[in-house]
């Protein structure tokens, strides 16, 4: 009897072990179901634009869908008027499982607070309101839509928004990244994962798949926690009041500096972080200073110094009036013919002098009038800077060749401390020529001197903050 009981117990414990193992492995291999809808706007755009869409559609067609991943696609018929009813029907069909995570990708020409060229902000808001489904992620695969006014208007449509602060390449996002979503259960984690994949796809150092689209500019990406926008915007009202109270001279100076140094390709949009930093510089009131610092920190900017994220190199000449002969990528690029053809090299270091150098080629040369200088010699695709010195006569080599290699071309900033109003979960950019890309802190805003359209005036952000007046 005892033996029988023991046997039974052993059997039972074995069964329990199997059950436990089954449960554990089920958890390990459990996948989260994701429904992803991709929408391509731009029916009236030209053939080139349509070709870009087709290329993106081919990428999507290579994604392996499964029980855990459904990816649907909607494209406006080229040349036809947009049909919002069809679009809404498509979205309703795409998001049917109440238990699934839901992501929407909208591809098209973006324009900051205006929204998309073919789907204005108010239309997007209405569409998503009519959809009556709270989305986990919306990815605006478009330009300038990491824009505070736009984000605030659509804050209730999804938990997280992924968007670009600067103009985005028409190559858009690397759609194959969507295939990994079932391995991620958390929407914030998934958003950051997708944003990282996006930025890496434009990185030369990471052999990104979309570097073909890049020659001089940055790719930028931001992940926004929409529930925090309300608090941030509440605090931001102070900024609007502060700017309005500035003496006209200070207002003009602030506007000029922002336009010149911190504007996007669309000049009416400027970096929000730098707006706050520059405003703080003008402020003479310690309480205001503290309030602005609080807002700046909510954008994950711990200190202004840390915004200098691109390499600066101090190069010292061995002797006065020495001539630096230089090239790029281990003397593979930047020889005279390439230098004269591609303005990128001139933007890095301008010269009109060329001398005979490595690889039996002629190379740009720069006389050092001072003993040393600082350079930011990197750019998209330019990952090493090579140089040596000749004497003042240009005949005698007076130094060995040096090659300086950069170790990263992507700058990432993640939220370090969760606080009320810290809406920016993650932001990143790829470096552009020199240190130009250091203006991106994640979100843009319309320059305060702009004249608003009626639509802008009526945006919730503007009504709450009083940013632009009619």
């Amino acid at each position: 009897m005892v033996m029988k009981t023991m046997k039974l117990q052993r059997k039972l414990s074995n069964l329990l072990l199997i059950l436990l193992l089954a449960l554990v492995s089920a958890n390990v291999f459990a996948e989260t179901k994701w429904e992803v809808a991709t929408v391509f706007l731009g029916a009236r755009e030209n053939e080139e634009f349509q070709a870009d869409i087709e290329s993106n559609l081919r990428e999507i067609s290579r994604i392996k869908t499964s029980a855990s991943l459904a990816v649907t696609t909607y494209r406006e018929a080229p040349g036809k008027n947009a049909d919002r009813t069809k679009l809404l029907t498509f979205l309703k069909k795409s998001f049917q499982d109440p238990k699934a995570k839901k992501a929407l990708v909208l591809y098209g020409h973006g324009d900051g607070p205006t929204g998309l060229r073919d789907l204005k902000t108010a239309e997007i808001k209405k569409l998503l309101s009519d959809l009556k489904v709270k989305l986990d992620i919306i990815w605006f695969d478009a330009c300038f839509l990491a824009n505070i006014e736009f984000l605030y208007e659509l804050r209730k449509s999804s938990s997280y928004t992924i968007a670009s602060e600067e103009a985005e390449f028409s190559a858009g996002l690397p759609f194959e990244a969507l295939s990994e979503l079932p391995t991620i259960a958390d929407a914030q984690e998934a958003s950051v994962f997708l944003a990282r994949r996006f930025i890496e796809s434009y990185s030369y150092l990471k052999n990104g798949a979309q570097t073909d689209a890049v020659s001089t500019s940055s790719a930028t990406i931001s992940v926004v926690d929409n529930k925090e926008l309300e608090s941030f915007t509440g605090m931001f009202k102070k900024v609007s009041d502060l700017i309005k109270k500035l003496p006209p001279k200070d207002q003009t100076a602030l506007k000029n500096k922002l336009s010149k140094k911190f504007s996007m390709d669309e000049k009416s949009l400027v970096d929000l972080g730098h707006l706050l930093i520059e405003l703080r510089l003008i402020s003479k009131d310690s309480t205001v200073d503290q309030e602005l610092t609080k807002l700046i920190r909510l954008l994950n900017i711990e200190s202004v110094k840390k915004l200098k994220t691109n390499p600066r190199i101090r190069i010292a000449a061995p002797e006065e009036n020495a001539i630096m002969v230089f090239g790029f990528n281990d003397w593979e690029n930047g020889m005279q013919s390439e230098y004269l053809d591609n303005p990128l090299f001139k933007d890095i270091l301008a010269t009109k002098t060329f001398v005979q150098g490595p690889n039996k080629d002629t190379w740009p040369a720069k006389k050092f009038e001072n003993k040393s200088t600082y350079l930011s010699p990197f750019a998209p695709g330019v990952n090493s800077f090579d140089y040596y010195f000749l004497d003042a006569s240009g005949k005698k080599k007076i130094s060995e060749p040096v090659s300086i290699t950069r170790t990263r071309d992507v700058v990432e900033t993640a939220m370090t401390k969760k606080a009320l109003g810290s809406f920016l979960v993650y932001s990143a950019y790829t470096q552009e020529i020199g240190s130009k890309a250091e203006k991106y802190t994640g979100v843009n805003i319309t320059l305060f001197t702009e004249i608003p359209s009626m639509d802008y005036f009526e945006l919730e952000f503007n009504q709450k903050v009083g940013w632009l007046s009619l």
Partner: protein
């Protein structure tokens, strides 16, 4: 020696480091962005124009010849690498005869005017000037066709608008047929705001009447805007729906009501409706508006709008200025259009390059001794460059809705919408012109 290098951030130094895949071919980046890429600019250049005559030309003649040459800058400017469009506010000064060879006079002048100029040129801009505007059209022909202009618009009357010596097949030669003047460019931002005189819009009964004149794109399409496939019928329906959604009550006009205004007709009756909410009343007209179509009914309603409306908004083809030419319309009607010189009005012309066509002739009709420019009682809002008709209705709708909202703000005392904000609504940036606003009264709440 190399230790003097100081690396500040994330670069590392190596002696002759490993190589990179070096593919540095120039690439044109393509962005998901189509933005406003132009600003207003002041353009100044010294022009020279030829004039053939046995007599020394008078100042007036010289100015006419110059104006003809200036008009001929439109075609090349709109086809240039950096497109530009004159705003029509230019001043011609320092007019003088530079030289005379045989019977050809060379007249020199200085041009100063505002243009909308695509981003790019910052200091100078090449202006193509027809050497002799009276001869350029004829000189452009190769056989029976002029390859220098639009293949569909081959007439001399359309030439100034479409010609471009750089067009494929064009045989016009630099220095022989045209010259290039280096214009000085001074770009500026226009942030000055001006406002409609909202408080002066109501008539003597306190009503604000807005006449929406929808000119058909294609008069062969259905004449009922509620069912027509005409492009402008879509905007008719859109704006109609908007008004109804916002509490306006609509009423379709009967044939008898239409006939009271359109005393004569040369085609099917137009479709007319009125939408009213409180003191604001919209009249919608839909029908052909081209001068060479059965547009008599349109002309009667247009006359009525000009004479009686607080606001008139025309959306349709401009016909290079011909469709709304007052003299041509009056000739068609056999009646004068009597402008109300005592009443403040706003006219919106939402058609191709309208700021060029619909300014002076309208202001002239409002002139009085006290208002020699005719601008005190009239503001004219003109819109942009030549544009595709399918794009225009969107701006027409946007401006109409924005203005309806602006009236609501002014009525409720919730603020006044500037002309510049209205223009922003149609995404036109600087591609708009407001004339007559310079002497406007500060806006007040509509009583």
């Amino acid at each position: 020696m190399f230790n003097k290098l100081l690396l500040v951030t994330s670069a590392s130094m190596v002696l002759m480091s490993s190589s990179f895949a070096a593919t540095m071919q120039r690439k044109n980046e393509k962005k998901l962005y189509v933005g406003s890429n132009s600003t207003e600019a002041k353009l100044t250049y010294i022009g020279v124009v030829e004039y053939d005559s046995t007599k020394t030309p008078s100042e007036k003649t010289m100015r006419n010849v110059i104006e003809s040459q200036v008009e001929h800058t439109i075609g090349p400017m709109s086809a240039a690498q950096y497109t530009a469009v004159p705003k029509g506010d230019h001043v011609i000064s320092d007019v003088k005869i530079q030289s005379k060879t045989g019977s050809t006079f060379k007249i020199e002048y200085t041009y100063t005017g505002t243009v909308v100029l695509e981003n790019g040129p910052k200091t100078t801009y090449d202006i193509i000037l027809a050497k002799n505007p009276a001869k350029i059209y004829e000189a452009s022909f190769v056989g029976d066709v002029s390859p220098c202009t639009d293949e569909h618009y081959q007439s001399e009357g359309d030439f100034w608008y479409f010609w471009n010596p750089n067009q494929a097949g064009c045989k016009l030669k630099k220095d022989k047929d045209y010259i290039i003047a280096k214009a000085k460019v001074e770009r500026f931002e226009n942030t000055t705001k001006s406002y409609p005189e909202y408080h002066n819009l109501p008539d003597e009964n306190g009503n604000i009447t807005i006449h929406m004149m929808f000119g058909m794109d294609d008069s062969a399409k259905g004449r009922n805007p509620l069912t027509s496939g005409d492009i402008n019928a879509h905007i008719y329906r859109d704006f109609r729906d908007y008004l109804i959604e916002n509490g306006y009550t609509g009423k379709k006009w009967t044939a008898a009501e239409i006939n009271k205004i359109a005393k004569t007709k040369d085609g099917a009756a137009p479709y007319v409706e009125t939408f009213t909410k409180g003191m604001i009343s919209y009249r919608f007209f839909f029908g052909p508006s081209a001068i060479d179509e059965d547009s008599l009914a349109f002309h009667w309603f247009y006359k009525d709008a000009i004479e009686n409306a607080s606001v008139m908004l025309y959306g349709g083809h401009s016909g290079l200025g011909g469709h709304l030419d007052l003299a041509a319309i009056e000739q068609n009607l056999g009646e004068e259009i009597k402008f109300n010189k005592k009443r403040y009005q706003i006219f919106f012309f939402d058609s191709c390059t309208s700021y060029k066509y619909y300014n002076t002739q309208y202001f002239e009709r409002k002139m009085t001794a006290k208002d020699p420019k005719g601008s005190k009682k009239l503001d004219i809002f003109t819109n942009g460059l030549a544009t595709y008709f399918h794009v225009m209705p969107e701006s027409n709708r946007a401006i109409a809705i924005a203005f309806e909202k602006a009236l609501g703000y002014a009525q409720a005392g919730n603020g006044f919408v500037s002309y510049q904000s209205l223009a922003k609504q149609i995404d036109s940036d600087n591609l708009f012109g407001i004339n007559g606003d310079e002497d406007n009264e500060a806006p007040k709440k509509i009583k």
